[in-house]
Assembly symmetry: C2
Homo-oligomer: 208 residues x 2
C-alpha cells in the first residue's frame, strides 16, 4: 500500500480513538454518519478514508467496531512497536508523559531526558529520566526512534540535532523554535499559540 497523506493518517488516528470510546460504551457497531458526527466531519469523508485503506465491509448495522480498530491499527501502527522518548521533563513533558503513558500498545514511552539532577534516574510520570549526556547511549541501547521535544527554546535546535545524529527518525516538536531536519527524518511541529490565535480570530469574526 502507498504511503497515506498526512491528513488521512490524522483522521485514521481520530477514528480509532473514537472507536475505542464506542467499545467502552459497549457499542459494537457504528454507521459512518455516526462516526463522522462525533468528529464533526462528513460521512463521505469517513467512507473515502476507509476505502483508501481497503476497508469496505459495511454491514447493515454499520461498521464492526472491533474489526475496524484492528484494520486501522494494522495500517498505522508498526507491527513490532516503536519506542518513544520525551526530551525535557518540565511541566509540559510531565503532562504529556502522564497523558500518553500506556495509551497505545504499539508506542512505548520508554524514557525521558533532562539535565536537572533532581530528576535524573528518577521515575517521573511513570517514565525513567536519563541525563542529556547519556542521550547517545540511551537512544541506541533502548532503540528509541521517536522524540517528543519539550526542552526550553534555547536548547531546541542543539538537542534536536543531537537526537537525529544518534538515530532518532521522527520528532514531535512542542518548543517555540521551528526546526530543520535532514530528509529521512519526519518532523511534526505544534505551536499552541497558533491554535489560540485561530480560536480568537473566529470568536472575533462571529461577533461581527
Amino acid at each position: 500500500m502507498k504511503t497515506l497523506p498526512a491528513k488521512t493518517v490524522e483522521r485514521l488516528s481520530e477514528y480509532r480513538r473514537t472507536l475505542m470510546e464506542c467499545l467502552k460504551e459497549n457499542k459494537n457497531y457504528i454507521f459512518s454518519h455516526n462516526l463522522a458526527a462525533r468528529l464533526h466531519i462528513t460521512a463521505v469523508q469517513v467512507r473515502r478514508d476507509l476505502m483508501l485503506i481497503g476497508y469496505t465491509s459495511v454491514l447493515r448495522k454499520g461498521y464492526d467496531v472491533k474489526v475496524l480498530i484492528e484494520t486501522i491499527s494494522r495500517i498505522i501502527d508498526s507491527e513490532q512497536g516503536m519506542n518513544v522518548a520525551i526530551i525535557g521533563i518540565g511541566n509540559l513533558g510531565r503532562a504529556l508523559a502522564a497523558y500518553f503513558k500506556g495509551k497505545r500498545s504499539k508506542l512505548n514511552l520508554i524514557a525521558s531526558f533532562d539535565n536537572d539532577p533532581q530528576k535524573i534516574n528518577k521515575v517521573i510520570s511513570g517514565v525513567k529520566c536519563y541525563p542529556y549526556h547519556d542521550l547517545e547511549k540511551t537512544i541506541k541501547e533502548l532503540d528509541i526512534e521517536v522524540a517528543i521535544l519539550t526542552v526550553p527554546a534555547d536548547f531546541a535546535r542543539e538537542i534536536a540535532e543531537e537526537t537525529v545524529r544518534y538515530g532518532i527518525k521522527g520528532i514531535l516538536n512542542f518548543t517555540t523554535v521551528p526546526l530543520n531536519v535532514p530528509s529521512g527524518v519526519y518532523l511534526e511541529e505544534y505551536d499552541m499559540i497558533t491554535s489560540i490565535e485561530k480560536v480568537a480570530y473566529f470568536v472575533k469574526e462571529n461577533k461581527l
Copy 2:
C-alpha cells in the same frame, strides 16, 4: 473582508511568528521564498495567502517585515484585545500558561481555574487561580471570551458546558474528550496522541 479559511488563519499566525523572529535577528526585509522555506511550505502558498489579505506591496528587497506583521495583526487580532482563561491548572495548564503569558499583546491570559485549595487565590505561572465555583462570576467580571481547557477528562464535558453557559465564545480543548458546542461558539481540539501516531506512521513508512 470575508472570514478567512481556518488553514489560512493558521498560516498567517505562523508567518507572524516567523516574522517576529526575523525582527529579533535584525532582518527587516524578507522574500516570500525565504519566509516559505522557514515554514517548509511553498512561496506560492505564502503569496496566495498574503494576496488574500490584500497585501501586495512587495519591494525589490522583499516584504517589509514590520509592515507585514502589522498587516497580519490587523486581520487576525481583535483590536480591543481578548481575555483568555486556562481551566485546570495542572502540569499541562501550568506549562501552557508559562509558555503563553505575555507572548501576544492582544490576547490577555487573565485567569486560571482549579478546584485544588492549594492553588486557589495563588498566582501560578504568572496567572491568578480562581475556584470553579466562581466560574460564572469571574468569566463575567473579567470579560473572558476564550477558554483553554486542560481539566481531567472526567470533568471536560461538564466544565465546557458551564463555560459556554457563562459566556465563553471559543474553546481550545486539550483534554482527550471530544466536545460538542452550540453554534456561535468556536471549538478547536488538539489531541497529542494523533500527532505522535502521525510521526510514528511516517517513521515506519520511511523504513520500508
